[in-house]
Symmetry: D2
Subunit: 309 residues, 4 copies
């Protein structure tokens, strides 16, 4: 697939998503952008003997590229971002994951009296053919954008937190072939992205997927006057609504409820019918259960959407 790149960005990383920073790039709706991302540790884990706690100092983690200003984007609009391709870059081993002292679903929290977990770093080769974990284990290369979001109107959300602006959702479905819809709340939309994962299990159990630097190509379209409460995603087969909250059931609630509204507003379903149909055929992806808010995506197969009217 050959994309004509109109714009390119790299460097000047940001640790917050908000209207506080000058755009690093200004584009027209419909433009394609090649984004050179660094990994979530900014490339500082240069060997397996580096302690994550020695190089990652909160809140200076999960660096993002952006903001990208989209001409004409106004509060109440939507950025529709097509994920075109994600290429791993840099010398091998390009992929890194690690165990941290107080991070991850099964780890003690800093607010417990337990001993911290050991710090363990694992670096792996990543190619388009796979992630070479060990001689016997090769994970499929299923890359996605871990963090992508638009600026809120007033506040600036740190780059680790997902919420109704998108952000650090760690949702494996934000992958080439999909389009993510993000609400515009500040003028220009102000899109940030980064935190590319070569693959990830549901929930991102220990808190760190296979992190890597990448060349990520996206196309940014603008949809006028579609005020979304939460991000949405679409691919060839599915429509998905995305919620982020704690506890996890609240994220599922937000996602399913938004999906009902989508079915009602865009496909003509009665709301109780939509509720019934999702009960029988809805699907849920647990994206992360480790970040400051947890993320779930609820989707329905498009074959069930024909009969809404």
């Amino acid at each position: 697939m050959q994309h004509e790149l109109t714009k390119e960005i790299q460097g000047e990383y940001s640790y917050g998503i908000g209207p506080y920073k000058e755009p690093v790039l200004r584009i027209e709706p419909g433009d394609t952008v090649a984004v050179h991302t660094v990994d979530a540790f900014e490339g500082k884990i240069t060997s397996e003997s580096v302690k994550p706690s020695s190089i990652a100092t909160l809140p200076f983690v999960n660096p993002l590229c952006g903001p990208i200003w989209v001409d004409g984007a106004q509060p109440g609009d939507v950025l529709a971002v097509d994920i075109l391709s994600i290429q791993p870059v840099g010398p091998q081993p390009r992929g890194v994951t690690c165990l941290q002292k107080y991070f991850g679903l099964l780890s003690p929290t800093a607010s417990s009296l337990s001993e911290p977990f050991p710090e363990i770093v694992k670096r792996v080769n990543v190619t388009n053919e796979g992630i070479f974990w060990s001689e016997e284990i090769v994970f499929p290369y299923e890359p996605f954008v871990g963090t992508i979001g638009t600026a809120p109107r007033v506040a600036t959300i740190n780059s680790l937190t997902p919420d109704n602006h998108g952000g650090n959702m760690d949702l494996p479905d934000v992958t080439p072939g999909s389009t993510i819809y993000l609400p515009v709340r500040a003028e220009g939309g102000l899109l940030y992205l980064g935190d590319i994962h070569a693959c990830q299990g549901d929930g991102e159990l220990c808190g760190v997927a296979i992190e890597m630097a990448s060349l990520t190509e996206i196309k940014i379209n603008l949809i006028k006057d579609l005020p979304l409460a939460w991000p949405r995603l679409e691919d060839e087969d599915r429509i998905m609504s995305i919620g982020s909250s704690k506890p996890l059931e609240d994220a599922v609630k937000i996602a399913y409820n938004d999906l009902i509204h989508w079915m009602v507003d865009s496909y003509g379903f009665d709301k109780w019918d939509a509720y019934f149909i999702l009960t029988q055929a809805g699907r849920v992806r647990i994206a992360n259960v480790v970040d400051p808010l947890y993320t779930a995506g609820a989707w329905i197969d498009k074959r069930y959407l024909k009969s809404g009217k």
Copy 2:
């Protein structure tokens, strides 16, 4: 597929899972049993004009068959139950779902000041070819056992609650071709099952799947001296641990943690390796987010299990 049935049970439904009731059947390990189940409403929703609140009185809902006494089963053992087949039975429309006043993920709870939801009943034809929801929507026939569990040592758990004994997990993976492992805590194991669903979406959103009466065939094996903390499931491709709790993240925690122990104990993994591998390749099914406790299953593909030693 032809199964030689050695035993058969039906009638005499139970609304609790516990050691309080005389066994309705006594079997040897390895026996196959044909279980004639009624639907979760005991067949009382005979038309779409029946109000669920008029026929379902707590705690007399979700009737189960059992208990089945397994000779030789002692606390610390495991019942390994193969799900052989599930056939819909009874005159059409055999399948029923409904909206209830105060039940379901998006519904108000009885502890809110909001108005209840409307009571709506929907009955549908169910065959091995599909669930005929409307002219345009046919859901695939993907039947499973919604409730299956063994008796606790002392207490008797109502048939609506899933917990570490199994119970009302509403997990679509308990389907023909799978084996569910249930901890024995009372002498004889005392297996109960029922609540067959013709299909169900993740989470069982409105709280009621496509409920139906069935002829369900299971084979019950006994594994001695394997004290399980929580139920587990296995099929051709996967091993899955199952947790039930609230909030939902605790169910996910229980499931993933048990899966790590399984990988360590049975496949020789180091515990931190297992934690890492599940981070990259673990999968989670949200079974229910509507019952008194929520259920999640975490699994790993067997192709990643070869290298544990």
Copy 3:
């Protein structure tokens, strides 16, 4: 205060609350009962060198006295239990608390990969004058009934779990001078109680208060035809509704909502007025955040109840 005791019970401890067991005592409404309780460890922690894990085997913990059958009690009625007095009994040191491997709010759970907490036992002298923790610290003697509940209709709940039947609420307000209202769901009411605490902080942080054997006097009255959803409590100054659930906010929700219904039904308030008044003057006690369900009591001072009509 002199009470004429009509009945007395002791021994034959129960580890479940349910209709499964023959009454140990049958009384008339209005009778007073002297209950000889053992501590939550059944008196087995006889020195500070005893490991709790060596003597407390689940589910055989938190032994209760009962059930007490109340003549005429039918489902839909209420037992109104006056707590008359609680006396510590047995040789000093009578009080015991301990740290357990996997129990308590700040402790790792058995489903974590963390190391367990150390097992530490602390025994203390308890008199009506105080709990003598150390030379410098004396806690006030503020005894209460940790576990008190009525049987559900079908199931039998283990003695560790609080729910809408009461049970192991660990609510310090169940103290002499208060009346607790418990819903009758099985014939005879079937009251169980035990788990007396000499004092306890909010939430019962490490999971074990100052546990002690006691002579506890109660008076049991019967209120006909008052179907309660959850337990309630009353003393000279306050009315309190009690919820048990997870997460903790659900327990608070249940309690406040029930209190609104109480204000509406018994004191003539409009429901929105009650909601407003509790917003400004409601109070919440966190009873426990360590048991299988968490318990909260929400109350309002009686001086605000005069103007409901």
Copy 4:
């Protein structure tokens, strides 16, 4: 009580807490400041017929005064803010509360399918003698600062969210006579405050206390080199740690755990002893269960702190 006011601020309200805005006042440590606050609705609810939804547009609610720059304050320091006095100001009725469509513990959320709650406004006279709710109900005047916090290092938190910077905690203990300790994370500390409540019940049930404009006097001291993870509070009798999170049990966990560290670091307790003592004598205030994160304060009476060494 006569305070010599060195500084005064009012106007120029802020809807975020962060380093994004120029200080409105620069002070020396030890200075006293008179802060003229508006109510949480910026005074726009001028009669009981105003619909809150017509005047409060997210995120432009809960206006704060600030930031106040404190000379010499560096990341790792603490601002110790004494609350000196809080006076109600403006013409009567000065106090306002209201019911909103989708806000409050018992209200439906915007993510439910339920109907919204009615919008009801209630305005009341507030004096130092009380809050005159009705002819029969007078709530005591117990004013406090609902929102007070310091800027994070990178992000800007909206004024509705409490977190480890303080913020919209809605904690009734931030009242005259108390000192709140807030971590400095950005240079100058950058203190914001507002959202004064004339009184409030535990949890702030419907989400809106008795809101009022005020003249609030505070004294700001600087403690060098005391890196706090979470806010703390102290008054004559108690030390209190404050956590904000969801679910509510996590806020309680954070607060109790921080309190243990405080007892260990400042009073010489062994950590297990502190855990034990809080189990028997700790107290918890539920501040809010309605904001984006919930807040709890855990405290211990100072009389138990003498024996730590």
